[in-house]
Amino acid sequence: MTTELELRGITKRFPGVLACDGIDLTARRGEIHCIVGENGAGKTTLMSILYGLIPPDEGEILVRGEPVRFHSPLDAIRRGLGMVHQAFKLFPSLTVAENVIFREEPAKLGWIDRKRAVARVQELADAYGLAVDPTAVVEDLPVGVLQRVEILKALYRHASILILDEPTAVLTPQERDRLFDVMRRLRDSGRTILFITHKLAEVMSVADRITVLRNGKAVAELDPATTTPEEISRHMTGRDVEPVRAGAPTALGDVVLSVRSLTVRGAHSLPVVSDVSFDVRAGEVVGIAAVAGNGQTELIEAIAGLREIESGTVTLAGVDITHLDVAGRRRAGMSYIPEDRHRVGTAAAASVSENLLMGYQRTDRMRRGAWLRRRAVADHAGRLKDEFAIKVSGVDVAAGTLSGGNLQKVALAREMAHDAPLIIAEQPTRGVDIGAIEFIHTRLVAARDRGAAILLVSAELSEIQSLATRILVMFEGRIVAELDPDRVDEAEIGLHMTGGKVAGA
């Protein structure tokens, strides 16, 4: 096998941090090379260096044996690299096809040949089983579909080295398997795939080789045929990690959240949530499983007061909150860890302290009349920083400088600090490392045990299976199944999620 890509002694220092410490990595032509490691292990920095986003301090990159220096991603793309980012880089107001062809537009007499663009994108989408309408406008699309557009973008550019940064986070098991088929097909056609993931099961099923990063060093190169998930995990964390077991729930309490015949309309006034009813009782975790774009986001927004309710009622701890604003719902006992932690869950430009204050600024503890109690605000922030082990030098630092896991801890700490009867947790562990996942799960289980009602939405079926007392499956805006996590496997949940078992079929 020929070497496609070689990294030699890549080192990158940031003030006070050695993000990459002499990393060597060799990827061969036609292999799926998994790069695993916790957040802060240096994966993202390494990939940013490889993709030309930041220059390395030391070390060199060789593509097909030739030393290269990338000054920008454009250089990297010219050398045949493609990257599917974790955070989407798309133009919201343009169509899927327009996004995919950007900078490589098929032209006819100097004008963009839209027909050909749409046809070409459709062709690619069909070839790899990525269900996308090329003429749809990106801002109307749910997160899961955006991921597919990102993958299409890289495929369209004929990348010979494809970097996939956690591409499976929003896919169902079936879609994930289809993506893995795509990846295998790409590998068989001679491409090299660098696959970044936290999920060891995925690594085991798809990798040809595994490189484990820890604290900026490549600590192990493993062969999936001869290693185990436990071994990989040990290399990643430097210790043994026990998955959090929810344990048997204590006795269920009263109904905390009651949703009745809830209908929500989305874009083009189509119903995106149709006639949904369910209860969440004190001391239980109800998990909602659904493929992205099946109404779960809108359902949560409607409950949280961020989206208009067409009909139906939402009751929280006996209070009808259907027509209350966000502040009213929070007063009634709602806390909410939102899916989009960068834009909704936190404000990057605001300090950690200001982020931790949100939602409490009108409580008597935090204000005296129109004025904030500065002492109380600082104490609150300091206490949560310590209690939730938020790694930051001080609470006056801008939240935007925190890593994904730490940022999520900020949102988690804020939402769990006031012991609300209802906690809505939406993708609480998406994109955070194993250590933080363990921490977040422990916290959620502890909240459940003290009698909180938890509504959990996750694309991570293993997460739902290990934490939920009951699983509700949503498909096309309706709840199509209620499952017992102890009696179903991933495949069966996945089948419900894709509408395979509607109405008892």
Partner: protein, 352 residues
């Protein structure tokens, strides 16, 4: 800031030299003309509208509301404030306060139009607030020519405000400085404290940082938008009323149209000061001095006054580009601890 000044004055010097002037002499005149003697008094006077309009702009801008309607809010407030001072009977101080209140109220109502357009009908405030300036210009021009105008006057203006109803000058400082300056200082102090220490200041700052975050946290985004716009418009109306009641004593159409420049200078000052009230006061003092000094320079050296305006704009350009540099540097630092921060580089897509 220092770099920005050096760059701006450096380029200004090049321009002066190219037009055959002596840069050092010109800048010398500018400095002495703007910051000493009667020039300093004029500078302090000019600070009133500049700092006032800058505070009005900052109030909305730091809340994520881009209010470009300052000049309209100023004109409408000025005309109605003036008319109140002209027609309302009663003791002077009472009439002045009433006139200022009317000016503030009309400015606030004018600012609420685009705000309501945005919150109720999703019409972008940025555009409507700007376009309403033209409506305000035409409306005030019409009113001051016909219903409110002085009959038989050579140029379109109201009659003079009765002497008892004018805002007085400080009895000291050599005269010529309106006591409005005192209230501008008060407003700076008030806003500085409100921005940093109040629940309102906190919520609006978060709104400015991220609308979705504020909304999610229970901040009533619509009400806050209306509130900051009304407050900004009220300050604009006060500034406009001061310009007549404290400076020209009659609303002269052509004059007031020229004064709308203060709204834009104020915008620049607020940008330069990153919306911080105390910094606005300092930057406002500096810009006022540049303008007054520019007049002195033109009188003494035949270097055109427009050069002072050019330097102002260059300071902004230099400051803004330096901000861009630090921004980029900070972004790189941000990557040390985690993935690249998506809010800086990524198109935000998805539901709101």
């Amino acid at each position: 800031m220092t770099v920005a000044l050096v760059v701006a004055f450096g380029l200004g010097a090049v321009v002066i030299a190219l037009t055959g002037g002596d840069p050092l002499a010109a800048f010398g005149e500018m400095l002495t003309g703007g910051f000493t003697g009667s020039g300093l008094r004029n500078t302090l006077s000019r600070m009133i509208p500049i700092v006032g309009m800058a505070l009005a702009f900052s109030l909305a801008f730091r809340s994520g509301v881009l209010n470009l309607g300052g000049e309209g809010q100023m004109l409408m407030g000025a005309l109605f404030g003036t008319m109140t001072a002209i027609v309302l009977p009663g003791p002077g101080p009472v009439v002045i306060v009433a006139a200022l209140l009317v000016g503030a109220a009309v400015g606030a109502l004018w600012a609420l139009l685009p705000a309501l357009g945005q919150t109720k009908f999703q019409v972008p405030l940025l555009i409507t607030s700007l376009l309403l300036n033209y409506v305000a210009r035409a409306t005030t021009s019409y009113l001051v020519r016909y219903p409110f105008g002085e009959p038989g006057a050579a140029f379109a203006s109201t009659v003079a405000v009765p002497e008892s109803n004018r805002i007085p000058d400080f009895p000291f400082l050599g005269g010529g400085i309106s006591i409005s300056l005192f209230f501008v200082f008060g407003l700076v102090a008030l806003l500085a404290v409100v921005y940093r220490r109040s629940v309102f200041g906190y919520e609006t700052a978060m709104l400015g940082f991220s609308g979705p975050f504020a909304r999610y946290g229970g901040v009533d985004v619509e009400r806050k938008t209306l509130l900051v716009m009304a407050s900004a418009g009220a300050i604009g109306g006060l500034v406009g009323s001061h310009l007549v009641l404290g400076e020209t004593y009659r609303y002269i159409d052509a004059d007031m149209i020229a004064q709308t420049g203060f709204a834009w200078t104020g915008l620049m000052v607020s940008l330069l000061a990153a919306n911080r009230p105390v910094a606005i006061l300092l930057a406002g003092f500096f810009f006022a001095g540049l303008q007054i000094g520019g007049f002195a320079m033109e009188r003494a050296t035949k270097v055109s006054w427009q050069l002072a305006e050019m330097i102002q704009a260059l300071v902004i350009v230099a400051v803004v580009s330096r901000l861009g540099l630090t921004w980029r540097r900070r972004r790189k630092l941000g990557e040390e601890v985690g993935p690249p921060q998506p809010e800086m580089e990524t198109a935000h897509v998805g539901e709101v």
